[in-house]
């Protein structure tokens, strides 16, 4: 029996101790009417057969050159990240409630908290939440609790899927979400500032925006503070190696989707929700937080702290219902940051941005292709095509190229806009291939 060690002799001995005749007798407490018929599932398979089946399912039909991003990016992941985060002492351990036998996980989370705070220029971090979308929601909840107000202002340039999640998560609460439209693929900072008033708990923006543009939020956050509201920004961690930090910008809460820090794309998860804030808001943080203290001998020791905020103590009055963090994903991010260091991360950011600039230059030389706006951008650029972006994507598929993300799916009216992302994992040859493919598609139509 796979994964069950009992020999028939042992089963007999154990049944004798329990004083029942057969294992089936142990299920007598299940009311008779509720007992299940045999499950209609395929027969069990050997380990080898299961693996062969999945290897077949995972095999791609060909090679792709990809410029797809839209919030999730294929950066280089050092092999040592897999080797270290794959150690079973990390993988098969439990939530570190018993601190003395969990110092490995606890110290790693403390180091992760330190690393993301330094990267974002913020004071405090929690041990992480599920993903960038839930991090944004939890940030909104922090602002609602801290200000005792009920309105959240959201920029339309925030990742559209995260905005949809925000709506799902707040549907049962007394929260008003007000979305301020984008201005030709840019954050309309003035329009956002105008609607901030004394009823507003927070303004939520993204850096770079979903469209890849880099915005200046300093005045916006100053206005929010004038009105007693909080400034919340969702950032792209890799680009934070070079961009002004949320701390420098005046943000009160900075969150992120941490996938770009050493996590594979893995078809949507598991990912990492990074949450950081100013010290004044620390007691509003949801979920796990690790603190440094000392043991009885005065040695440094790490523990889960501020547990009085949490569900297992406060029940219905907890700051959040979250019980876990993405411990293993946070560990990957920490190892990734440790291997790249400040220079490597900045190099990854710079190289990704350089390639995106190169894409923009080459592509805008093609007939009818323009940049969607002239804002500074990071590693992702919005290009306007003379034909629908979905058509561009579909035609590029035949060339084995994913040219980007057609934003019209989420932004009606922008059906001709394609979001093209680069990372340091792309090569100059990849860029040539993309441009050649686009030229081919556009040339073929004219």
């Amino acid at each position: 029996m796979p994964f069950i060690p009992h020999t028939p002799e042992e089963v007999r001995e154990m049944l004798a101790v329990v004083k029942v005749r057969a294992i089936g007798d142990l299920f007598a407490p299940i009311p008779e009417a509720l007992r299940a018929k045999p499950l209609d599932l395929p027969q069990g398979m050997t380990e080898d057969a299961v693996c062969a089946r999945f290897e077949e399912l995972a095999a791609p039909p060909g090679r792709l050159t990809s410029f797809l991003g839209a919030g999730y990016y294929a950066h280089v992941i050092p092999k040592a990240v897999d080797a270290l985060a794959g150690r079973s002492e990390f993988v098969t351990s439990y939530t570190p409630y018993q601190a003395e036998c969990s110092q490995g996980t606890l110290q790693a989370i403390f180091e992760y908290q330190t690393a993301v705070c330094r990267l974002f220029g913020m004071d405090c971090a929690n041990a992480s939440v599920y993903d960038g979308g839930t991090a944004l929601f939890e940030a909104a909840m922090m602002a609602l609790r801290a200000t005792r107000r009920s309105r959240i202002i959201v920029d339309e340039c925030v990742n559209p899927q995260w905005r949809r999640m925000l709506a799902t998560y707040t549907a049962g609460l007394d929260v008003e979400l007000r979305t301020v439209p984008h201005a030709q693929g840019r954050c309309d900072v003035n329009a956002l500032a105008e609607v901030i008033d004394e009823k507003c708990a927070a303004v939520l923006v993204q850096q770079p925006t979903f469209f890849g543009t880099i915005e200046d939020y300093e005045a916006l956050f100053a206005k929010a503070h004038d009105k007693g509201a909080l400034g919340v920004v969702s950032v792209y961690p890799v680009l934070q190696a070079v961009l002004k930090t949320p701390g420098e910008t005046g943000a009160d809460i900075a969150v992120a989707e941490g996938q770009s820090l050493g996590l594979p794309l893995s078809f949507g998860g598991p990912y990492l929700g990074i949450m950081t804030c100013r010290k004044a808001l620390v007691r509003q943080l949801p979920g796990r937080i690790v603190g440094r203290t000392e043991d009885r001998e005065g040695r440094p020791a790490y523990v889960l702290t501020l547990q009085a905020r949490e569900q297992h103590i406060r029940r219905a009055k907890a700051t959040s219902n979250i019980c876990s963090n993405q411990a293993l994903c946070a560990l990957r991010a920490l190892i990734h940051l440790s291997l790249l260091g400040p220079k490597g991360l900045a190099a990854a950011a710079a190289r990704s941005m350089e390639l995106a600039r190169s894409v923009a230059e080459w592509a805008t030389a093609l007939p009818g292709v323009k940049r969607h706006n002239d804002a500074p951008f990071g590693n992702e650029v919005a290009l306007k095509f003379p034909i629908p972006a979905r058509t561009v994507v579909e035609m590029a598929a035949a060339h084995g190229v994913v040219p980007g993300y057609p934003v019209g799916d989420r932004y009606p009216g922008l059906e001709d806009v394609l979001l093209v992302a680069c990372t340091e994992a792309n090569t100059d040859k990849d860029v040539e291939r993309l441009v050649r493919t686009l030229a081919n598609i556009l040339g073929g139509r004219s």
């Binding site: 009992h6 599932l41 949809r164 549907a171 200046d216 998860g269 937080i289 291997l339 400040p342």
Partner: protein, 480 residues
């Protein structure tokens, strides 16, 4: 042990990604750039490898230690499932690819895995439809109770109260509150949910009650034998019944919650289906519903066309997405591989041997601890520390013997509670060692009053000062 930051040497690096950071200056105005580089570790690859290898050795893990953690189902995590989830074809797959025209062939394998997982979970639970989006158990709970709220809303009524037994996990009331419900406690009677108490509440507040959240078998390790009567009371009030899947390992193939009258269920793939806990995540908490709630599920869902082609389809009446894409895909793959490996018969054996192990352990411990409830237990049971001893101290003494502590001080209704769930993957020898260890600890505690409060003494640290940790917060190296 030093932190990685203290091991850092300015100018050192692993040189994995090379490039010129100054190139950024060409495109981004200085006003948008950070003023100084982030103070991240500067280490060689070997520095990093040594640091994290050493850290890993300061952890207990299922691969090295027995974890009798009640309600956590710390079973062995099979290695072949890790292999499956690390196949490069899955790891490199961009989730947005599934929405793009022309790339269907690249996502067929991944979509078929999601489709099959949903189908198998439906069969295992007797529910009609599943969403795999929730990214952990608590996230599943939130999704489940949100579906209950949406169901009542779809019938044009607002139900504001969620009933929750006093033996429930703290997450249940926290999830219900997060979804906007007022929580009303249901008192237990003899360790079970009392159908008369439910009936009483419903007769007074029935029009406000959205439903009842149950864990079955409950956190005391007892089958809720009054379930049919409870279902009947709820049906009369048109209130819904929620199944917290924390204890699903006890009933795999023995009872299907859909057949038993539950309307919504969340499962914990990281408990029941053998995926690792990762030191606190990532998990996966799929939610199943009966047909009447299916139109409300988070979308999109995976559908299979007559031509055998898998595609994504939006759900028009959905409560909206709770995850960016399809949930913890990597975790879902491991659970699917586990289900395929075991098949229907193998899953039933899981419940059988988990229950045998728990009952054997319970009987053997009756001479060591105070075991208050029932004759037979399900896959776990509660015990109280002997008079004069504290559960916390016993837990710490177990750590010194290389055994992870059981769940302590939960459920709240049991005094000095030690709640043990051995799981089916542990051998009789391991269970016997646990009994011997506990017996020896209790014996030594009786002879030497200083013994228990001193534990643990053999681990990298002794008991940390938690009060100071909370009063003088040090959450990063930079917090004074």
């Amino acid at each position: 042990m030093n932190t990685i930051f203290e091991d850092s040497v300015p100018g050192r690096g692993a040189h994995i990604v090379e490039g010129d950071p100054e190139a950024v200056g060409k495109t981004i105005p200085e006003s948008l750039r950070r003023s100084a580089p982030a103070d991240l570790p500067q280490c060689s690859e070997l520095d990093v490898v040594r640091h994290f290898t050493r850290l890993s050795r300061r952890n207990f893990s299922v691969d090295a230690n027995f974890y009798p953690l009640g309600s956590c189902t710390m079973k062995y995590n099979p290695k072949f499932a890790e292999h499956v989830a690390s196949l490069p074809g899955f790891l490199g797959l961009h989730p947005h690819l599934a929405e793009l025209p022309g790339f269907g062939a690249w996502v067929q394998g991944a979509l078929s895995c999601l489709f099959d997982t949903e189908r198998y979970l439906c069969e295992i639970t007797g529910m009609d439809a599943f969403t795999l989006q929730p990214m952990a158990g608590a996230n599943g709970e939130f999704t489940g109770v949100s579906l209950m709220a949406a169901y009542h809303r779809s019938l044009g009524r607002r139900r504001t109260i969620m009933l929750i037994p006093d033996s429930a996990h703290g997450t249940n009331p926290a999830s219900a509150a997060l979804a906007g419900f007022d929580v009303l406690d249901v008192p237990s009677e003899g360790g079970l949910v009392d159908p008369e108490a439910v009936a009483r509440i419903l007769s007074e507040r029935g029009e406000d009650v959205a439903g009842l959240m149950m864990t079955c078998p409950n956190t005391l390790g007892l089958m809720e034998t009054h379930l049919p009567a409870i279902v009947e009371e709820l049906r009369k009030a048109d209130a819904l019944l929620y199944y917290d899947g924390a204890n699903m390992n006890a009933i795999l193939g023995k009872m299907r919650v859909g057949d038993a009258g539950f309307d919504v269920v969340h499962l914990n793939l990281h408990k029941t289906f053998g995926t690792p806990h990762g030191g606190g995540g990532p998990g996966s908490g799929p939610v199943g519903v009966t047909a009447r709630l299916a139109p409300l599920l988070p979308g999109p869902r995976v559908v299979k066309g007559n031509d055998g082609v898998y595609a994504l389809e939006e759900i028009p009446g959905s409560i909206g997405p709770v995850a960016p894409f399809h949930g913890s895909f990597g975790v879902i793959l491991k659970a699917l591989a586990y289900i395929m490996r075991l098949g229907g018969e193998g899953l039933v054996r899981v419940a059988e041997y988990a229950t045998l192990n728990a009952n054997y352990l319970k009987k053997r411990l009756e001479t060591v601890l105070d075991v208050p409830y029932g004759d037979l237990c399900a896959h776990e049971f509660v015990a109280s520390a002997p008079e004069g001893l504290h559960a916390l101290d016993i837990a710490k003494a177990l750590l010194d013997r290389g055994i992870h502590a059981p769940t302590i001080y939960f459920p709240l209704i049991v005094k000095e509670c030690l709640m043990a769930e051995p799981t089916e993957t542990e051998s009789k020898q391991t269970l016997d060692e646990y009994v011997d260890a506990l017996a020896d600890i209790v014996d030594r505690a009786g002879k030497d009053p200083a013994f228990l409060p001193a534990a643990p003494t053999t681990l990298p640290v002794s008991r940390p000062d938690e009060t100071t940790a909370a009063r003088h917060l040090r959450l990063t190296l930079d917090m004074a």
